[in-house]
Symmetry: C2
DNA sequence: GATACTATTGATAATCATTTTCATTAATAC
DNA sequence: GTATTAATGAAAATGATTATCAATAGTATC
């Protein structure tokens, strides 16, 4: 079978195979779209991009693959207040670049910020440790979002 | 018109009237349910409780009222990963008691915690200030959630 | 209290992202 | 190559939330 231009051993394939998942054309295409975008894509966004190049990859497969990717921890799924879920790569070939979100409640614009992250992460780690112990919770992830009005909407 | 047992001038009515909203039986009943629960109720939960006492209050009204309450800032709307939105009073007669959430990704159990809150809030305030300036954003709200496995699910 | 004005309401239908179903196809181990 | 079984697409189903619209009920004014 023809393999696009991704090379036989992309960074994610190890983790993928290790968990018993098969490598398929559709999955490669979906991961390719995700890794080439720095936006927060909806399932439909991804479907449109993938489908234009590989018309035999359906929307269902996009949803299913995203689900697998989220479970593997390769992709983050977020909710920004419009109805659709948004997906973004958790870690790329270059490793994770962690960020948090700033969301406009009027126009739904989303800004990624990495400022202040270090301080935040440090506090989060401490908090996580405390919460884990007190509530006997195994914490695997966190979410921090700020809501408000962006520069375009604040004057309205 | 008969007014349940709520008294003519509940704590929220001022804010409500001030914004030009009318006081209706349905709205009183919905606010009563919210203020008597410390859980994270779905629209359907609230509908069930209200409807059992006032059968002529419909689900549509519950959604509409919750929408108003969220816009007024009287109620917080959150998403814990199951499909339905959850609602909880932002401030009660006794004033706000701010908390954050700890969510089990397996069984969707939600724990409110208030520990560590002070430290978190302080950092958040600093971060908010910095972000506001840098991105010219008027921040009105924030969300912090930790995800993981609760004590029941961690062994599974 | 009666009247006029308009917000609010309930029942129903519509919306729309996401899931299920199920027969077919294709990746992998041998 | 063959067998095994995961993965797939098309279409239908799901289910929370919204829109529609005629009927009802708060509120201000007299």
């Amino acid at each position: 079978m023809f393999r696009g231009g991704w090379g036989q051993h992309s960074w994610w394939q190890g983790k993928f195979r290790g968990c018993g998942y098969r490598i398929t054309l559709g999955r490669e295409a979906i991961l390719d779209v995700l890794s080439k975008s720095d936006k927060h894509l909806s399932a439909e966004d991804i479907y449109t991009k993938v489908h234009s190049k590989y018309p035999n990859v359906g929307l269902t497969t996009v949803y299913r693959t995203l689900d697998v990717l989220v479970n593997l921890g390769l992709v983050f799924k977020s909710d920004f207040g419009d109805k659709r879920a948004r997906y973004e790569l958790a870690e790329g070939p270059k490793g994770a670049h962690h960020h948090h979100h700033l969301i406009c409640t009027n126009c739904n614009r989303v800004i990624d910020y990495t400022d202040f992250i270090d301080e935040e992460i440090e506090l989060l780690n401490r908090t996580e440790k405390g919460l884990s112990k007190k509530y006997n919770f195994k914490i695997t992830n966190h979410l921090i979002q700020f809501y408000g009005l962006c520069s375009n909407c604040v004057g309205k």
